[in-house]
Amino acid sequence: MTKPQNTAFKRSDTGQPILKTSRLILLKRMWKYLGHYRKLLMLAMLLLVLTNALSLVGPKLSGLAIDAIGIKKGQANFERVFLFSSLMAISYIGSAFFSYLLNRVTVKLTRNTTYKMRKDVFDKLVSLPVGFFDQHQAGDLISVLSYDVDTVNESLSTDFLQILNSVLTVTVSLVFMLTIQPLLVSIFAVTVPLTIIYTRWITKRTKPMFRRRSAKLGELNGFMEEMISGQKTTKVYGREDEVIREFDDINAQAVEAYTTSEYYGTMVGPSVNFINNMSLAVISVFGSLLFLAGRVGLGDISSFIQYSRKFSGPINETASILGELQSAFAAAERVFKLIDQKEEKPDAENAHRLNQVNGDVALQHINFSYLPGKPIIQNFNMHAKPGSLTAIVGQTGAGKTTLINLLMRFYDIDSGQILVDSQDIYHLTRESLRKAFTMVLQDSWLFYGTVFENIAYSKPNASKEEVENVARTAKMHSFITKLPKGYDTMIGDDGVPISKGQKQLLTIARAMLSDAPMLILDEATSNVDTQTERQIQAAMRELMAGRTAFVIAHRLSTIENADNILVMEDGNIVEQGQHAELMNKNGFYARLYKAQFEVS
């Protein structure tokens, strides 16, 4: 007997994707978004220069004012003091004014680029083939649209201008300081490289710590979310304590990762502060000595110290912005990866619209595979006459939805021909082909909107009578009228809660509203309880009348009456024919059928 293993769930470290795309290419593409708003950008730069120039004059002016005061009693030259003070006031007010304008412009820029990027992401998303959504998690896509887009744009306009600002401040401060006393500036030849080397060193050391910290936090959040959604199960098996124990483990790791990163990360602030203080000390000493030597005035020392504070500020800030840019780059990479996804193949050039459909469907020599080299359907043929019923049966996971995917062109076949009314569907526009079908899927899809909007979704401009009529046929009318606002009641995830069965009935009503000549039912009845299903079946008969129907069903009563039954196993169509034929054959279908009544 094997001993029970008490190993915890192993979780892979979900680290950030490694940056592979070249920075330059990313930067260029990010730049393109700003490039759309060139005028705003130019304005922002102009305002930036203005506000900085004005604020940088301040210390110089205050130095001049101090010089005008003099060092001893009774030396003050008030005329000059007033002059410089009022100039100071004017420059500060002007600087604040331009800085506000600059902020406004930046906000506008951010608004525009964010909006544009979101739009691009969404527009891309809706034009992606269905296969993409089968392979990607909704949560991931949503985080691209919300967090990643935000991160990129926050960085795009603010960081870009901030860096520009820093460069400007540093240069101008340097120039001012040089004009005051070049000898004193030499101090920065030591402190600036020191700051840069130090910050680089510490960022490099802490980078993996911060990455680990966010990975661990993600893991913790994932675990909590998972366990809360399964709380009922945990309760029933009385496993609360075990789950909490595992939680404690992950929690301890997350906290440890957080503390470690903070342990080193919080060194930066005091260290930079230290370097600033050191510069101040050195400047004070040498400045005073220079003053004694008659090389500088007191006002000069004062201005110099103020400039030196302005000078080291941006250098530190740039260091931290570079850190933020890291995450912006990572986010941009995810956004662009999504935008670069291959869209659904465009319609063929000579594609024409499918008009006046009878609903005759033929599949000839079809070959298809989801993954290249793993054929699913091989040389398959079938024919469905207008108004006929084709049933698709098979075990779970046998690939019953494949055929639907091909008919609707959600996926493209590898070879062969699919004909609707003897026209190759690859020579038709996708829109006209898809509009010839009406569909009810297993997962009832409703959006946040009124009941009316949800039903009328399949037919724009549907009248109130039309919608009510299909609701009646689907036996939903009386239910709907009992809702708080009748047909105007908001439903969907955030709306009035309605049961699974009722959701299903609403989607059936929606399908009924369409006058498409062909119908697809994907296990549509398995969610509905049996009584309701009976009512639906009655309605379905009406819906199917005159329509070519393709039904995936578990219900043998449906299948028995089909004109053609496709029996699927492991993705392949293994048998086809009518119920009686297949029963006589005594093959896979017959076994499947008998299993229903095989009560032990």
């Binding site: 902020n103 949503i142 959604s229 000390a281 008969r541």
Partner: protein, 575 residues
């Protein structure tokens, strides 16, 4: 706030240490500019370079002390806030784990998740940063003011004069922008919803060629989000220019006033230069305080949300044993009624009993109360009326341990964890691989588990995304069987199984779980027609109870269901 304080208490010593050291470090920072004034006013006029060097050395000493104590305090703060958060998260998670189903319903899962994740994160950040900046910024402000007071109290008054203006500006801007930021959060929720709907409904949307319609729908929310964000930022955009212009004008006033005072011999130029330096420090402190203000309000609102959960009362208490029922039945319901909302009864007068090893099938329309019945049986909720007995004991008198230790359940849409198949079947219990394989065989899951090539070590993705619906159900069934339960409950848990697998499962249950009392909720008559008893539910009422053959004769609803599905009597429906 009080809840948070309780968590801070054990770390009082460490926090006081952090704050004191931080205080010391800040004082060091504050002394440095005043030394500059000293140099200019004392050493320079005396023309004594030695004095200048001495003061310079003192400045460097202050700088060194400042960096050492600052780093020490910061690390201390990180460790303390980490510890507090760890404990808080632990308590919160434990509390949530033991909440009753009713309490969790009231809270909603998503809200519980966000309280555990983002709220505790904000609290951690808040604790960490407040210990650091929260001390430093006010100290810089107050210390800076004190230092300027010692330099020259009249000039300080000029400075103090600007503070009320700044407070008003900051307060007004925060007050105006907070509701807009909150609104932005709600609009973002809308945007995400549209996106979710589009991902979930991709087939329908494409089938109906509604892409353009969806693009327009998204665009509307997108514009709304962009505009709301712009509105909020525009208000915030005022804060930094307004604050800095006020401070800078104050600075200009200091120079003007200073000029008079120096002229009169009431002050010195060195003082004014030091003043300008303190000014920079003070304005930085002001900016810091503004940020803390925002952090403080967010941290507190998070603490409030966390406290709400921690303070929830204990639900579903175990009551004292009164008089046990003398019965040989394993499970009995006596006139049980229940309502989730206390308005309409979700179940009314349910009455039945099962002997050990008997099976019962439950059938009925969606919303007829099938799952509710299970919830009461497992005491996830308490019945409003009537009593439920297991082995003669009222379940309200049983500890949850006693009640649930011998149960195996598969809920409707039960949940799969990211982990191996073994993890999923064991579900934190001590179950040997041998038992797991037995359960896997019975659940008809063995073939596909072997096919993975990795057996029980096969890794299941989150929410079981790499498994088909039928495979998931079989793993869940194996989970229920693996504990050798006395009571087995299947809530619509074979719906994704084909008839053949379903039949094989029923056969295995019959053979290997003879002593297990089994309850099966199903939509398919074929899944339950072989059970010892069948209950037909309609609108929470038990409208039929008996064997398949009896119900076919006596119960019109049941007959209807059966004929719809199997063509019995009613014949084929689709022609």
């Amino acid at each position: 706030m009080n809840t948070l304080l309780q968590y801070l208490k054990p770390h009082k010593g460490a926090m006081i240490l952090t704050v004191s050291v931080k205080f010391f470090a800040t004082m060091m920072d504050l002394i440095i500019p005043s030394i500059l004034a000293k140099i200019i006013d004392d050493a320079v006029p005396k023309n004594e370079p030695r004095l200048i060097y001495q003061w310079g050395a003192v400045m460097i000493l202050c700088a060194v002390l400042s960096i050492i104590s600052n780093i020490f305090a910061n690390r201390n703060a990180a460790v303390t806030s980490g510890k507090i958060t760890q404990k808080l998260r632990h308590d919160l998670f434990s509390r949530v784990s033991y909440l009753s189903a009713q309490q969790l319903d009231g809270l909603t899962q998503s809200s519980a998740v966000s309280r555990l994740t983002s709220d505790t994160y904000y609290i951690n950040q808040f604790l960490n940063r407040t210990q650091r900046m929260g001390v430093r910024a006010p100290l810089l402000l107050i210390g800076g003011l004190i230092m300027t007071l010692t330099l020259d109290f009249r000039l300080t008054l000029v400075l103090v004069f600007t503070l009320p203006f700044i407070s008003i500006i900051v307060y007004q801007i925060t007050k105006k922008s907070i509701p807009i930021y909150r609104k932005q959060q709600r609009v973002l929720d809308d945007l995400i919803r549209v996106m979710q709907e589009n991902i979930a409904g991709v087939r329908i949307i494409k089938a109906l060629s509604k892409t353009q319609h969806e693009q327009e729908r998204f665009d509307k929310v997108n514009v709304r989000l962009a505009d709301t964000g712009q509105k909020a930022r525009r208000i915030s955009a005022l804060s930094s220019p307004l604050t800095s212009v006020t401070l800078n004008l104050g600075l200009t006033l200091v120079i003007l006033a200073g000029a008079y005072m120096v002229h009169q011999g009431l002050s010195t130029t060195g003082t004014i230069i030091a003043f300008l330096n303190y000014f920079t420090l003070i304005s930085m402190a002001m900016m810091g305080i503004t940020r803390i203000f925002i952090m403080f309000s967010r941290g507190l609102s998070s603490a409030g949300r966390v406290a709400e959960i921690l303070q929830l009362p204990e639900d579903l208490k175990t009551i004292k044993q009164d008089h046990p029922l003398s019965t040989d039945k394993y499970l009995s319901f006596e006139e049980v009624s229940f309502s989730y909302s206390n308005i309409d009864d979700n179940l009314k007068d349910i009455h039945f009993s099962l002997a050990r090893g008997e099976t019962m099938g439950i059938i009925g329309a969606t919303g007829s109360g099938k799952t509710t019945l299970i919830n009461l049986m497992l005491r996830l909720y308490d019945a409003n009326k009537g009593r439920i007995f297991i082995k003669g004991r009222d379940i309200k008198t049983m500890s949850t341990e006693d009640l649930r230790s011998s149960v195996g359940v598969v809920f409707q849409n039960d949940f799969i964890i990211a982990g191996t198949i073994r993890d999923n079947i064991r579900y934190y219990r001590d179950i040997s691989d041998e038992h797991i394989w037995q359960a896997v065989q019975d659940a008809q899951a063995a073939p596909f588990i072997r096919e993975t090539g990795e057996g029980l070590d096969y890794r299941v993705a989150q929410k079981g995304n790499n498994l088909s619906g039928g495979q998931k159900q079989r793993i869940l069934i194996a989970r229920a069987l693996a504990g050798k339960p006395e009571l087995l409950i299947f809530d619509d848990s074979s719906s994704a199984l084909d008839y053949r697998t379903d039949a094989a499962l029923r056969k295995a249950l019959k053979k290997n779980y003879q002593d297990t009392t089994t309850i099966i909720i199903a939509q398919r008559v074929s899944s339950i027609m072989g059970t010892d008893h069948i209950m037909v539910l309609e609108d929470g009422r038990q409208i039929g109870y008996g064997r398949h053959e009896e119900l076919l004769k006596s119960n019109p609803v049941y007959r209807d269901i059966a004929s719809t599905q199997m063509g019995v009597e009613g014949g084929a429906l689709i022609d």
